[in-house]
Amino acid sequence: MATAVFRPFEHQIADPDEVPKKHYLNAGFSAKSWLLTVDHKRIAILYLITVTLFFLIGGLFAVFVRLELMTPAADLMQSETYNKMFTMHGIMMVFFFLIPAIPAILGNFLVPLMIGARDLAFPRINLLSWYIYMIGGVFTFAAVLFGGVDTGWTFYTPYSSTYSNTNVILAAVGIFITGFSSILTGLNFIVTIHKMRAPGMTWFRMPLFIWAHYATSLIQVLGTPVVAITIVLVGLERLFHIGIFDPAVGGDPLLFQHLFWFYSHPAVYIMVLPAMGVMSELITCFSRKKIFGYEFVAFSSLAIAVISFLVWGHHMFTTGQSIYAGMVFSFLSFLVAIPSAIKVFNWTATLYKGSVSYQAPMLYAIGFIGLFTVGGLTGMFLSTLAVDVHVHDTYFIVAHFHYIMVGGTIMAYLGGLHFWWPKITGRLYPEGWSRFAALVVFVGFNLTFFPQFVLGYLGMPRRYHVYPEEFQVLNVLSSAGATILGVGYLIPLIYFIWSLKSGPRASANPWSATGLEWQTTSPPPTHNFDKTPVVTGDAYDYAKFARENAKAEEATLV
């Protein structure tokens, strides 16, 4: 019998009989059941805890950086110490937070659920990925404990390979090991998406989150090994002085940069593509509308993955590569912006004439659109050879990549965490606080990083802790913004933990969203679905709610 008119977000709190008695979280309480789990959902939780830990460590280094930059003089720390601060901030944030966060937490949890599978293709390799991540983390943290690294997260030779007196090898070993965690996760996702989709789930019926993670996984598998072998070469050079980057015997330090950036540029797309996948899920749900241009968004993910490998030289415009190579890389860098722009257009078009509401996930998503656009457009400036010569190695670059990494990826990560939190934990977080925190994050972010565009354009170099006095006001604004941003991050940390015990219990589909993950309980059972789902329609069929409402109305009229 047709029921009353459906209103989205109406049924967020679970009825008592809806609360699942057995699910993946209470399937075992021993340490062994967690540390030897092969359940992708539990592995996602393991990552959630440890990734958050590394985020806090990386954030701590940022605090020291911004503290020192409050004043023009070097009054908090010596140059060598400051070098270590920004280096370790970069290493922790890039390798231990940004690269794993969305894929290893949200991806691990959701990929099997979204395609209707019982687990990833290789559950034990999934667990191995986490252990490898942790071992790498231990080595890198050891480097921190034993006095730090000061080469910059980019490890340029010959400083890293010959002249630095810090714990380069320890950090390099840690990053080398963690790279394999990334490779194995990517490998797992690729095979899973090819081989384990539920009946009826064709490629073009998959959620765009899956397309995004597929594209990300391609980059992880194809790019990471190159930086791995490059790190090995730096280690060999440092330990045995084999000469491979030593100009005295004909070695070329620029070769390191080529090999390093061959991975590290695509790596930034490892960081942003999953965020774009989250975006497609959030924008559609909170506009109650299917995505505009599904195929365009899907193929743009693949295009980004491929073209991202062709642009790395734009990090080397001023370092001595040939001008011709610079021009080729510049042109290709313009090209790689196109698929990203397509996504932004399509998300915006999805909003148009949608039924938009502003819960926390949507606030983060809308923030992403604006901030990613700024980050992306400033990337166009940097692709322009002449402009880059002026602003390379200044705070303009720092602002550009933080707009994408923090304004983009972290916002999407937080939006996704909020969106799927009820599914992952079976609990609802407080709505009011979540919206407030999202606004605090947005304000704090812009206050931190917009002044840095100005600083960079005016000429303040990056990685310097001493600067001319006239830059102080902007630096103080930036540091003040960082404090606000920190508060904005702290608030969800508190209420998420609070919600685990005291949040209302969530229904199976509190957001009235489409997608197979919402067809199972919150939290899901260990085996994900009681019966393997069969897919008969496209993704994002938000129109079905209107159809069902129309049927219900007809029924009442009869």
Partner: protein
């Protein structure tokens, strides 16, 4: 009633899906191996182009006989590995174990010859670094040739060692009766890895041993 083969993992529908997934997984791993070694080949490409004479002179220190014999040994080991897969698919445990064992023997022989070569290089003071001291006059960039020689053959040898370790494990599993006509995919999957390591050497041999020999 569907039979539930003991080797079928709970998240797969059937052994076919499991085997196809395992194969794809190994190929994805080999793709990253291609790029892993590829970084070394890229360095080789750049430096050989930049310093052709230094590379020719460096190559002349390598023993073509030992290198050629090693190439033949690895090709034989690929044959024995392929035959191990063949007999594994047929459920012939004795022949499977025999050919896995032969593959180990050949792999060990390869590593033995490499150890001999490395020892020669050590005595000739050709280890790159502060001890690099060849007797003949040479361009300084010849050290880079040897840096790449040791890095590339060393990384290759490490992969061989790991491969031999896995072969030992496979023999152990075979003796426990784990493999049958229905389930022998680990042999085939490992075979892909072993053949890949052979392919790396197929490129290393001419690139390191046969430069400017005319």
């Amino acid at each position: 009633m569907s039979e539930h083969h003991p080797a079928l993992a709970h998240h797969f529908e059937d052994l076919d899906q499991q085997f196809e997934a395992a194969g794809l997984g190994m190929w994805a791993f080999l793709v990253q191996e291609i790029l892993f070694f590829g970084g070394l080949f890229a360095a080789y490409l750049v430096y050989r182009m930049s310093y052709p004479e230094a590379f020719i002179q460096g190559s002349h220190y390598l023993d073509i006989t030992l290198g050629g014999v090693n190439t033949a040994i690895l090709i034989c080991s690929s044959l024995t590995m392929a035959l191990a897969v063949f007999y594994g698919q047929q459920g012939n445990r004795r022949q499977l174990i025999l050919f896995l064992f032969l593959t180990i023997v050949l792999g060990a022989a390869f590593l033995g010859i490499k150890a001999v070569e490395y020892t020669h290089k050590y005595h000739e003071h050709l280890i790159p670094g502060p001890m690099f001291h060849p007797e003949e006059a040479h361009p300084p960039q010849m050290q880079i040739f040897f840096a790449l020689y040791f890095a590339m053959t060393g990384m290759h040898a490490l992969h061989m060692v790991i491969g031999i370790g896995i072969l030992v494990f496979l023999i152990y599993q075979a003796r426990q009766g784990r493999y049958s006509v229905e389930y022998n995919s680990p042999i085939e999957i490992f075979g892909l890895y072993w053949h890949f390591v052979d392919i790396v050497w197929i490129f290393l041999f001419p690139l390191l041993y046969l430069i400017g020999r005319h």
